[in-house]
Every structure is written in C-alpha cells, then in structure tokens.
C-alpha cells in the first residue's frame, strides 16, 4: 500500500515537473526613459500645434518610405487643419488612377477623401526596394510598438554617429540604442534645421522627434481628446444619476427596514 502511494506520488511529481527544464533566461526588453506627454493619462489631450508640426515632419520625411494607409486626408481636420488646407494638400499628391484606354497606368491629383498615398505600389515592392524589409505602416505604429511614445522618441533620438567603438559595423546598417541588436537599415531620419516650422519653433532633432511622436500617437488613437472629454461628462452625469437612484432606493427600502 505504502509503495503504491509513493509510486503514485513520484509519478505525479514527474508529471508536474517535466517541463521545468524549458525555463530559459529571456533577455529583458529595453525600457526607454519616460517622457512627459500632454496626451498621457486618463485626462490627457493632444496639443494641436505639436500635432501640426508633427504632421509636417511626417509628410516631408517619414512618408517617403512609410505608409499610413488607414488615414484619409480629411482625417487631418482632427489636428486642426482647415478644409482648404486639406484640399490643397490632397491635391498636391498624385494618386494612382485606373488604367487608361490603352491599359497604361494613370495618376490623378488626390481628393480629401482619398487615403494617404502609399510610398510604394505594394509591400513586396517596398521590401524589394528597401533591402528586404518593407518599412512598417504607421497608422497604428504607436499602439503596436511596446512603450509607444517613449520608445518612438528614444528611437528617433537614439542614433549614434559614429557608432560606439565596440559596436559591429555592417555596411548599410545604422547604430541605434533602441533597436534589437542595435543595428537598423533605416538611416537617421531627422537632422537639426532640416525643416522650418512656420510657427517659428526651432526645429532641433529633439523637437522634431517630440512632434512627430505626438503625431504618430494621434494617428494611432485620433479620438483620444474627444474620448477623454466625452468621458468626463458621461461620468459626471452618471454620478448625478447615481445619487438620485440611491435616494430613490433608500426611500423605497425604508418601508421594509423600518418595521
């Protein structure tokens, strides 16, 4: 009897502990330093000026390689662009049209309800032209990327030129503190004074990185400001309603309790 019990216990222990050996050390992911953002937290709101500067950076620099195909030009009214500015912007983009009568590809000026023009005809074409990896679409990049805004900012300001002495040098790759293996095919996109902000904000790399990060976070969650504002009113309304409902309930139940 004892023997059976011990055997059973042994078998159970073996069954339970079998996969323990697979426990391997996983390298800790890099945590970028936390930045202060206007849009953080449950009441955070976007700064429209920053979003407009950020869109400028995206439009002049990022969009040469990265698509943002979930957005239409009309969506930019969300960062405070006027209808006329959106119309002009869309009109300045040449978008692929239907083939003409002889089957030749055509292009036409964009319209406000067109989706953002993709820089490449397809992901395959993008991969072929960009060294094997297609630049990721940026519509939801700030959500998908762990540490979202903090990582984007750290990454955009994290290129080291020249790379640290002990870093491996691979032709066509650039050193960045915030990517896996520290090497990435994307060259440093931002330079001091590369663009001029119409509102006179000095266009340092850090400023551009902050602005375009804000813009990417907005693109990934365009209704955040409205959501937070609406939410506040709804919660206040519900609290008012709750007070009334509790009073009604108490008044009703007094008849039961006071017997």
């Amino acid at each position: 009897m004892m023997k059976t019990t011990r055997l059973l216990a042994l078998a159970a222990a073996a069954f339970l502990s079998a996969p323990l050996t697979t426990l391997a050390a996983v390298p800790e992911p890099l945590v970028p330093p936390h930045q202060k953002w206007d849009f953080d937290g449950p009441f955070g709101q976007f700064d429209q000026k920053a979003l407009q500067r950020g869109f400028m950076v995206y439009d002049r620099i990022c969009s040469t390689c990265h698509g943002m195909k979930a957005l239409t030009y009309n969506d930019l009214s969300g960062i405070g662009m006027s209808e006329q500015a959106i119309l002009d912007l869309a009109h300045s983009k040449m978008i692929a049209g239907p083939p003409d009568v002889s089957g030749q590809p055509t292009s036409r000026p964009g319209r406000p309800d067109d989706h953002f023009r993709s820089p490449f005809p397809s992901d395959e074409a993008a991969a072929a032209m960009m060294g094997g990896v297609a630049p990721p679409d940026q519509s939801r990049l700030a959500v998908i990327q762990p540490h979202g805004a903090d990582w984007l900012y750290a990454f955009l300001t994290g290129y080291k030129m020249p790379p640290p002495a002990d870093a491996p040098v691979v032709p066509g790759k650039f050193y960045n503190d915030w990517v896996d293996g520290h090497l990435i095919g994307m060259p440093p996109p931002l330079m001091n004074g590369m663009i001029q902000y119409p509102d006179g904000t000095p266009a340092t790399v850090e400023q551009q990185a902050r602005d375009v990060t804000s813009f990417l976070v907005w693109a990934a969650d365009p209704h955040r400001t409205a959501r937070h504002r609406t939410g506040l009113w709804v919660v206040l309304y519900l609290i008012g309603l709750l007070v009334l409902a509790i009073a009604w309930k108490k008044k009703t139940w007094k008849r039961v309790k006071s017997q």
């Binding site: 979930a70 939801r140 609406t230 309930k249 139940w253």
Partner: protein
C-alpha cells in the same frame, strides 16, 4: 404602519386595464403578463448585490445587439477588406469609434458579469432542485456567449484574430478520427481566409440573436422556479418576499448605474486595459507573433489547454471544465443550497476561484516552467472540487443550522 404587503403588492387589487390597453390586453395579455412578471412578481426579500448581474447582463446584451447591428452595416467580411473596414469604422465613420468602443468594452464586461453571475449560482447553490433547467439554460448561454465572443474577436482580422483562429482550428483538428473533417468545416478552405471570415461573421451575427432566444428561456425558467437567495431556503410566506417593483427595480437601477460607471471609465479613460495592441496589426499569415494569447476571459481555459502535454488532451480538459458544470446539480447531492451553511464547500469554492485565476495567470505565461506546475495543480483542483469534494461533502460535511424562514433571519419573524 406600512408593510411591504400593503404598499408594493398590487396583484390582488389591481383593476383590469380599461380603454385601449384593456382592449389589447383582452386579446393579447401582454400588459397583464408584464405586470405579473415585472411589477407584482415576488422575489425573496434578502437578495444581495450579486443578484444585480442578471439585469446587468440583459442590458449589456441589448447594448451589444444595438451597437453590433450598426457595426455590421459598415463591416466587410473579406480577407483583404476586414481590417481596413474596421479602421474605417474607427476613423472615418461618424461616431464609429464610440460604437466600436462600446462593443469592445461590452464584450469584455459581458464576460466579466457572466463569470460573477455564474459564481453567484455556485456559491448559493442556485443549481439545485427545482432550478436545474435554469442552471442548464444558463450554461448553454455561457457556451454560446463564449462562441460568439470568439467569433467576434476574429472579425477585425488583426494578428491576434488570425493566430487565435489558427490555434483553435488546429486544436479542433487534433480531435481523433473526425478532427481533420471538423477543422475543414471550420475553416471552409485549406487556409484561413475569405470563407473562414465570412462564416464566422455570419456565425457571430446569428449567435447573438440565438443568445436572445435562450435568454428568453432562462428568464422564463427563473420566473417559474423563483429566484434563489443568499440563505438558499425557499420563501414560505408573503413576509419572506418583496415585489419586483419598486423594491428590486430601484436596487437594480443602482447596480446598473455603478456598473455603467465602471463601463464608461474603462471605455473612455483606460481602453488599453482591455484591448490587445497586437491586434492593431493586420493579419499576416507569414509572420507568427512572438506571443499568441487569447483575451483575458479565455485565459483560464487556455491555461488548461496548455497544461496537458497532448493537444487533444488539452482540448478535452478545456472543454471538460465547462461540461462538468452541466452535471453539477447531480454531483452535489447536499440538500443545503447556500455555501453560508456549508463550511467545507465555502472554503472549497474559494479555492475554486483561486484555481480559476491561477489557470488564467498560467495561461498568460503559456504554462511555461513553474506555471506549468501551477496550471496542472489548479486544473486538478478544479476537477477535484466538482468530481470529488462536492459528492463527498454531501455525505461528510457538518452543515450549520438553517434559519426557520427568510423573515426570521432578517430579524422580522
């Protein structure tokens, strides 16, 4: 002095409706039926806040149908179009982001409320005679809601939708003999694409309305057998009960508003607590995500699925964890319903909740390393509770004495 008998109870002295209402009621007694079931209907007087969740679930179900219909009008169930159509709902459709946020939050909180509702049934022994059918219809609803939630999660066709579908269809494929055929019926073609997505869209939409039908049966059953209560003893006199209106309408209203506050706080301020970021990347069959995990409400079952070394065994364990609930009224033969009077079961049930949560955490860690052991122990405990502890407790447990009536327990004998 006012008493519940002469203030809230209209059943004896309500005059029959006159005029147009009377004309309708004589031909189709909807008005008197509503009055009988939702105004004068008598419930035990001692129902606590856990009895709010029936009403809460009903309201969330209506919200899901209302938002779901409008989402469906703007959704495209194709491999190429699904992801972008959901993006368009979120971005370009006026108010679409709010519709979708309500539907997503609703799905999560529906399952949360359902688990609380189920726990209440377990704790107060609501599955025992004469409420077996009520319990069984509730479990059918649980299964249907889980299927609906799973199908719904496929629809945005993001990475987690696709790879979740991949895991589940392959798990179904692991069933001996008929697995291959079952898998093919589910996917509809040799890959997860248009046919699969269209099928699950139709299934999601259809199931939602079938759920409404079964809710009808469930509610009918509770109106026949009457609600259980925290003491688990049947009301004997009118003194033990209160009318649905105004007593429980006001109590349900307070519960509903508190639930709505939690709902809106999550939806407006912390939506990312419930959403899986990886599902904002479109489905890509060529690129397996590092971490495939289901929504939180499936994690306990995922933990069970992964804790068993064989795929089919895991599937059996996960499915068995729900199947065993169907036999509960006949596994637990104790005449005492409420765990308040069953010290052993009370502790055992607390352990069951802990095991369920541990299985979820283990599922989140893919039952790797220590979590494999935890998942197996928790899984053993889960089945042990239903198959060993409950049948034995009915014979061995020393129960506490029951009060003579509900009113007596409330100090109103």
């Amino acid at each position: 002095m006012k008493t519940p008998e002469n203030t809230g109870d209209h059943s004896a002295n309500t005059p029959p409706a006159t005029g147009l209402a009377g004309w309708i009621d004589q031909r189709l007694p909807v008005i008197s039926a509503f009055r009988a079931e939702y105004v004068d209907f008598r419930l035990p007087r001692n129902l606590n806040w856990l009895w709010n969740f029936g009403a809460i679930l009903t309201v969330v179900l209506v919200l899901m149908l209302a938002t779901g219909i409008f989402l469906a009008m703007n959704y495209t169930a194709t491999d190429a179009g699904a992801f972008l159509s959901v993006e368009a709902i979120d971005r370009q459709l006026s108010g679409g982001w709010l519709l979708r946020a309500m539907h997503m939050t609703g799905a999560n909180l529906f399952l949360a409320a359902l688990y609380i509702h189920l726990f209440r049934g377990l704790y107060y022994g609501s599955y025992k005679a004469p409420r077996e059918i009520l319990w069984l219809t509730g479990l059918i609803l649980l299964v249907m809601v889980m299927a609906t939630a799973f199908a719904g999660y496929m629809l945005p066709w993001g990475q987690m939708s696709y790879w979740g579908a991949d895991v589940i269809t392959k798990a179904v494929g692991a069933v001996p003999v008929i697995g291959g055929a079952l898998e093919h019926i589910m996917t509809g073609s040799d890959h997860l694409g248009d046919v699969f997505l269209h099928r699950f869209f139709v299934l999601h939409f259809l199931m939602a309305f079938l759920v409404v039908a079964v809710v009808g049966l469930h509610v009918t059953a509770v109106h026949i057998s009457g609600s259980n209560n925290p003491l688990g003893i049947e009301p004997k006199t009118k003194k033990d009960t209160l009318t649905f209106h105004p007593y429980y309408t006001t109590k349900d209203l307070v519960g509903l508003i508190i639930f709505a506050l939690i709902f809106t706080a999550l939806m407006f301020f912390w939506p990312n607590l419930l959403a899986e970021p990886a599902n904002y990347a479109p489905a890509d069959p060529m690129h397996t995500p590092a971490d495939i995990e289901p929504e939180w409400y499936f994690l306990p079952f995922y933990g069970l699925l992964q804790s068993v070394p064989s795929k089919f065994g895991g599937l059996l364990a996960a499915a068995g964890s729900i199947v065993v609930l169907f036999f509960l009224p006949w596994l637990d033969r104790s005449p005492i319903r409420s765990a308040r009077f069953r010290p052993l079961c009370r502790v055992g049930l607390l352990g069951l909740v802990v095991a369920f949560v541990l299985l979820a955490v283990a599922g989140k860690h893919h039952a790797e390393g220590v979590w494999m052991i935890v998942a197996r122990l928790a899984g053993l405990y889960y089945f042990g509770y239903f198959l060993v502890l409950l049948p034995l407790a009915a014979r061995m447990e020393k129960t506490r004495p029951l009060p003579s009536s509900i009113a007596a327990a409330e100090g109103d004998a």
